[in-house]
């Protein structure tokens, strides 16, 4: 009897931890468009989400762990509506939902840049985080220098990064600027501003992250 009660309690607890994806606005839209299988475990991970509308043709595509999924008609219209209201466009690099929260990365590498530039960012209401000014980044074979730019401790400083971290950020910048870059031959200069807001219009359940990368 005790065993049965324990099993019921465990089952109830597990069930309580489960998120109903239909209660997560962005997740519900993506499941409706691309199929319920996009929700795996407790989340969604889609990359290269791209939509088109023209007359009688409404279509979206997304990469789900290497598999390209397609949506059309009503489902595509709902994705277009959601993306347009949150981002003003219909193409985004990634959408990741974990539990009840979803994040949208507008261009490839935005999340990476946002994290790397944390020291130069300030937070405000509505989980809104942004760089306080344009941050110059210079990457060479020896590593990357971020700044000088205003930092969140009130000073104006620079940060040096090296190794894999520097390689990764150099690759993001090169891709965004359309420049070839690889190995020790990579030298690149960029000016970056990032913005991430959690107030996307669905009760703060979806955050939008965007970085502007210029030469």
């Amino acid at each position: 009897m005790k065993l049965v009660v324990a099993l019921v309690l465990v089952a109830t607890t597990v069930r309580a931890d489960r998120v109903d994806p239909d209660h997560v606005p962005m997740a519900a839209t993506l499941r409706q468009a691309f199929g319920t299988q996009v929700w795996r475990g407790n989340g969604i991970e889609l990359h290269d989400v791209s939509c088109r509308a023209g007359g009688e043709s409404l279509a979206c595509a997304a990469n789900d762990h290497g598999r390209v999924l397609h949506a059309s008609g009503t489902g595509a219209g709902a994705v277009i509506q959601e993306l347009a209201s949150f981002t003003g466009g219909v193409d985004v690099a990634s959408i990741i939902c974990q539990s009840t929260r979803c994040g949208v990365e507008i261009s490839h590498g935005d999340w990476h840049l946002m994290t790397t530039l944390a020291r130069f960012e300030m937070d405000s209401l509505c989980e809104h985080t942004r760089t306080m000014a344009t941050v110059p980044i210079r990457c060479t074979a020896a590593g990357c220098t971020l700044g000088p730019a205003p930092t969140n401790d009130g000073s104006a400083g620079s940060v040096a990064i090296a190794g894999n971290e520097a390689d990764a950020i150099a690759r993001v910048l090169a891709r965004r600027l359309g420049r070839p870059c690889g190995g020790s031959a990579c030298t690149i200069d960029a000016r970056v501003e990032c913005d991430s807001s959690g107030c996307a219009g669905d009760g703060g359940l979806t955050s939008i992250t965007s970085c502007d990368v210029r030469p």
């Binding site: 939509c51 088109r52 509308a53 023209g54 007359g55 009688e56 043709s57 409404l58 008609g73 009503t74 595509a76 219209g77 709902a78 277009i80 509506q81 959601e82 993306l83 347009a84 209201s85 003003g88 466009g89 219909v90 193409d91």
Partner: protein, 190 residues
């Protein structure tokens, strides 16, 4: 009492369409502006008629056009595409006609004249023969110049002289959206 009378007179004279609770109308009004309504002196006489509503979306370029001159860009276009898609599955329709902002119902024609044709002919497949003023549907006469004009237009015939006749096989489907407040019609005319 005088003040109340003035308020009533003022409301009737301005005949502004009120913000609508009809989902499609609300988005059309938000997207294109209150100009989408044509009011004939009183609110109850307001009509919304948009022709060739066409939306496109590509990257960060979203826009919708209607009647060749009205247009809307960006976020509003995204909402309108979503609304049209939810009702019709497409982002381009020939006509949207709504009655009054107070008790609004809308009819969407996917192709020109679909709502008129479906209203008279009904769903399913029917044989229709029309002259300039009236039609015969499966042998039953019906006097509706609008239906005759719609059938002629879909067959690409001007039908201007009295001897004109147009015959067609018509197949219509209808669906409702917005909890029954919007009727969507699609007809094949061959």
């Amino acid at each position: 009492m005088k003040a109340l009378a003035l308020i009533v007179i003022s409301a009737v004279a301005s005949a502004d369409p009120a913000p609508s609770s009809h989902p499609l109308v609300a988005i059309l009004q938000w997207a294109f502006g209150d100009d989408v309504w044509t009011c004939g002196g009183s609110v109850d006489a307001c009509k919304l008629e948009l022709h060739h509503v066409r939306c496109t979306a590509l990257h960060h370029s979203l826009r919708c056009d209607a009647d060749g001159y009205t247009r809307v860009d960006g976020q509003k276009a995204g909402y309108l595409i979503g609304e049209l898609a939810a009702a019709t599955g497409v982002a381009e329709v020939a006509e949207i006609a709504c009655e009054s902002p107070a008790a609004t119902t809308c009819a969407i024609s996917i192709r020109a004249g679909d709502a008129t044709i479906a209203a008279d002919v009904g769903t399913g497949s029917h044989g229709v023969r029309c002259d300039r003023e009236a039609c015969v549907i499966d042998g039953n006469p019906i006097s509706d110049a609008l239906l005759a004009a719609a059938i002629a237009a879909r067959r690409g015939i001007a039908c201007e002289d009295a001897s004109c006749t147009v015959a067609a096989r018509v197949r219509c489907t209808t669906a409702t959206a917005d909890a029954g407040l919007t009727t969507v019609s699609r007809c094949d005319v061959r």
